[in-house]
């Protein structure tokens, strides 16, 4: 019966790997969690893309939760994320604010015209200074800000259907339960 020993050892290994895969779907793949969750979003005032006369500030957006999606026409991974936003953005039932980061307005507008515009509103941070306050390192990144202006969730990297299903929707549901 020692002949079966290697087989059973392998079964144990498979159990461990199966656990590993399951664990990964439940936990953040990165070892280090984001420090911004639970903190108030920074104060900001940024112009609307293509209409610099109009500005939007943090106060303007209080009252209802919204998703802030950092993107740029120069950003390759944003192109990969874009179809997901187009397909699932509206269904999330929350305002989608595009945060055009370190981009040229003409290029950004052209990109949205070409690929489609999933956003309810697009603000532009050409210099990238406000982004530093948000802790933005690059694109794409997505923040979920609740009605009180507190950051509840941050996604570094593109949104995928999987992430939306397992991370974003639960976070949205949590906010919905709290609202009076």
């Amino acid at each position: 019966m020692s002949r079966l020993l290697p087989f059973f050892a392998f079964v144990g290994l498979v159990a461990l790997f199966g656990f590993g895969i399951w664990w990964n779907t439940k936990h953040d793949l990165r070892e280090v969690p984001s420090p911004l969750i639970g903190r108030a979003a920074p104060e900001f005032r940024l112009p609307v893309l293509g209409d610099p006369g109009r500005t939007v500030s943090k106060a303007d957006l209080l009252g209802k939760p919204y998703l802030l999606n950092v993107f740029g026409s120069w950003c390759f991974a944003c192109g990969e994320e874009h179809p997901v936003l187009m397909a699932e953005g509206k269904a999330l039932g929350v305002m989608l604010v595009g945060y055009n980061y370190k981009d040229e307005p003409a290029a950004a507008k052209g990109w949205l015209a070409e690929h489609g515009n999933p956003y309810d509103l697009v603000i532009a941070d050409v210099e990238g200074r406000t982004a530093i306050d948000f802790g933005v390192y690059g694109a794409p990144e997505t923040f979920l800000v609740d009605g009180k202006g507190v950051i509840r969730y941050k996604r570094i990297g593109p949104l995928t259907p999987d992430v939306i299903e397992h991370e974003l929707k639960p976070a949205l549901a949590k906010i919905a339960r709290e609202a009076p």
Binding site: R30, E31, V32, P33, S34, P35, L36, I37, G38, R39, G72, S73, W74, C75, F76, A77, C78, E80, Y101, K102, D103, E104, A106, A107, G110, G128, I132, G135, V136, Y137, G138, A139, P140, I156, G157, P158
Partner: protein, 156 residues
């Protein structure tokens, strides 16, 4: 006991002894070299006191990086959701190290600060840093010019 049996028994015994020795050594070596990872708030909460050397993980606080003027000493603050930890390191920082970047520093506490013997910065494949903007924007601008030309030419 006949000789074959005796020999088999000796072999089995030797194998068992060797196996026990191997497992014992492995466990010993593991214990000596296990490194736990803690966030600044966990360290401040006292979770790391029993470990002489451990890994500190978090984000580099923007604007906290300070370099000495005459040596390779550098200090910065590592933060997480609820805590911050000043870190000191003497040496060359990795290429990916910058504000708001995830880092893992290995080292030990010296009073209230963390003295790092090694600093690693994380790298994500799907992620695009700001520096790319220039090169990509240039490529995109060129394409935009070409497209405009094409449009005017074909009268679209």
């Amino acid at each position: 006991m006949n000789p074959t049996r005796k020999r088999r028994l000796t072999v089995v015994l030797l194998v068992v002894v060797a196996a026990v020795a191997a497992v014992g050594l492995a466990v010993f070596a593991l214990q000596q070299n296990m490194n736990y990872l803690f966030t600044p708030s966990q360290v401040q909460g006292g979770q790391a006191t029993q470990y002489k050397s451990f890994r500190l993980g978090g984000m580099v606080k923007a604007g906290s990086v300070q370099r000495a003027s005459d040596s390779l000493k550098v200090s910065f603050i590592v933060v997480d959701a609820d805590g911050a930890m000043p870190v000191e390191y003497n040496g060359i920082l990795p290429d990916l190290f910058r504000d708001n970047q995830s880092v893992i520093a290995t080292g030990s506490m010296d009073g209230a600060r963390f003295v790092a013997s090694e600093v690693l910065a994380k790298h994500d494949e799907t992620y695009m840093p700001k520096e790319l903007k220039d090169a990509m924007a240039k490529a995109h601008k060129n394409k935009a010019i070409v497209d405009e030309k094409a449009e005017t030419e074909t009268g679209k």
